[in-house]
Amino acid sequence: MSNITSLSLTSLVNNIKNKKLSSEEITKAFVDRSEKSKELNSYISEDFSNAIDKAKKFDKNPNLDLKLPGIPMAVKDLFCTQNIKTTAGSKILENFIPTYESTVTQNIWNEGAILLGKLNCDEFAMGSSNETSFFGNVLNPIDKGLVPGGSSGGSAAAVSGQLTPVTIGTDTGGSIRQPASFTGIVGLKPTYGSCSRYGIVAFASSLDQAGPMAQNVEDCALLQEVISSYDKKDSTSIDFKRNEYSKELTKDIKGKKIGIPKEYRIDGMPKEIEDLWQKGIQYVKDCGAEIIDISLPNTSYALPTYYIVAPAEASSNLARYDGVKYGFRANGENLIDMYEKTRSEGFGAEVQRRIMIGTYVLSSGYYDAYYLKAQKVRKLIKNDFDESYKKVDAILTPSTPSSAFKIGEKKDDPVSMYLNDIFTVPVNLAGLPAISIPAGHDASGYPLGLQIIGKVFKEQEILNIAYAMEEKISFKNKITDWWIK
């Protein structure tokens, strides 16, 4: 088999189960390609030689009943991995070596997968372009000058560039779906409470969710099946009946009602995004689903709400980085001076900006005007979805208002950067599941994604719709391997 790295996860698993490929062959293939792909800057930490050792060990005594038998996998560097450096893309955690494992990654290793390394991301997952990482920006495999999106930019580039068969990211306001859309891959943000947050470096706790990123919908379903679990270590983890997403996957979506929200037709949206959306509507119709026009009247308030709630929670979560318990410490004349210098030198500009916004909106005299107001509007946004879901089973929208933008293009304009997440943020505010699938290309040949938003706990439903659409779309990523050395 000449090109192992282009195989899907499902196909790799089958090849291992049929003994056509060994874990060692597969692991070496991904290590080899990753070694040749340094220019993408996808990895923060590599664990290649350990990975090959683990693969050899797996092959000696293979357990083929597992869901990810001997499959190598790199993960976003926001997941704590025991005894392996976990940086969250920040200088302040540059040398942090967790003494425990996140539940989501533990679930992956329990099913037989092997860690390849830790993938680059925006600092503390705060960013939409991977440009805020202390370890430098990631390049989009689609084209050299493009951002891969963020915050799971290293993850998206690694799947798209075939450095890992699949991966996991985290999504607080679009951090899985937007980079998936920018790199031509599939990304799922599960229902809040579906995947444990234990051991994930916290950003905004009421919004953060881990989820799978993959080359296709079937792989995405399989990985979701592995990572989703009820976990006592996360008090917001929800004990509900989880489907066997990959086994129950079906293209039969006849009679499903799909909502099209008119408020997502925003001013200044490029025509190619509108055209893509219309194409998507036609595809679901062709699959026998019914299209229903709906209204989510408070959509335009989602981003301003998010930029109060997320920084508020972040400012509280990031208070723990004080130069005492773990992480970077700067020298100071006294304790307070040490705190202030540590945080000023340890955090990057975007993280400092968000901590300051969060501190301000929670400060005495401003709490009611900002934080409480935002929590009320958040309720209205959730009510919009609840109303719509009385009429429809799922909602179809574009994933992003544009294709991938150029490196540096939006770096100095925070508000224009934030506008990237206009279609993804409402989903996090309402705690819903949503999937982004590649659905076409713009005039430059850059990928564009469509988003399917589901009801809570209805991951299976949106995976099925995505699976049916995927066949009709038959998307091919245009990757030339320009970075391979």
């Binding site: 040398n95 003494t99 004990d239 304790l335 901590i355 501190t359 900002y370």
Partner: protein, 95 residues
């Protein structure tokens, strides 16, 4: 609304992030453009709306208050920038 340098200094003190004059000016500009964007929420009347406290429609589970991790002192202090094997060490607080 406008966030002036005095307010930036106040927030930086609350955030325990030191800022010099130049950084304060940059932050004031950034925060003003972000808050201008956030002010859009004032268009909405939310007097009769209950704030959302949790998206998950379940009640938090109770558990017995038992120690789960024992003898992990070493693990806890392992990543600290400075310790004396038993405690975290910080700059002198009391003279």
């Amino acid at each position: 609304m406008s966030i002036d340098l005095k307010t930036i200094k106040h927030i930086s003190k609350l955030s325990r992030i030191s800022v010099d004059e130049q950084k304060a000016k940059k932050l004031a500009g950034d925060l003003n453009s972000i808050f201008e964007f956030i002010e859009k929420l004032n268009e909405l009347n939310t007097d009769k709306v209950e704030p959302l406290t949790s998206v998950a429609e379940t009640t938090l589970k109770f558990r017995s208050d038992e120690v789960q991790s024992k003898n992990i002192k070493e693990q806890i202090i392992k990543n600290s920038p400075e310790n004396n094997d038993d405690f975290f060490v910080v700059p002198k607080v009391v003279e």
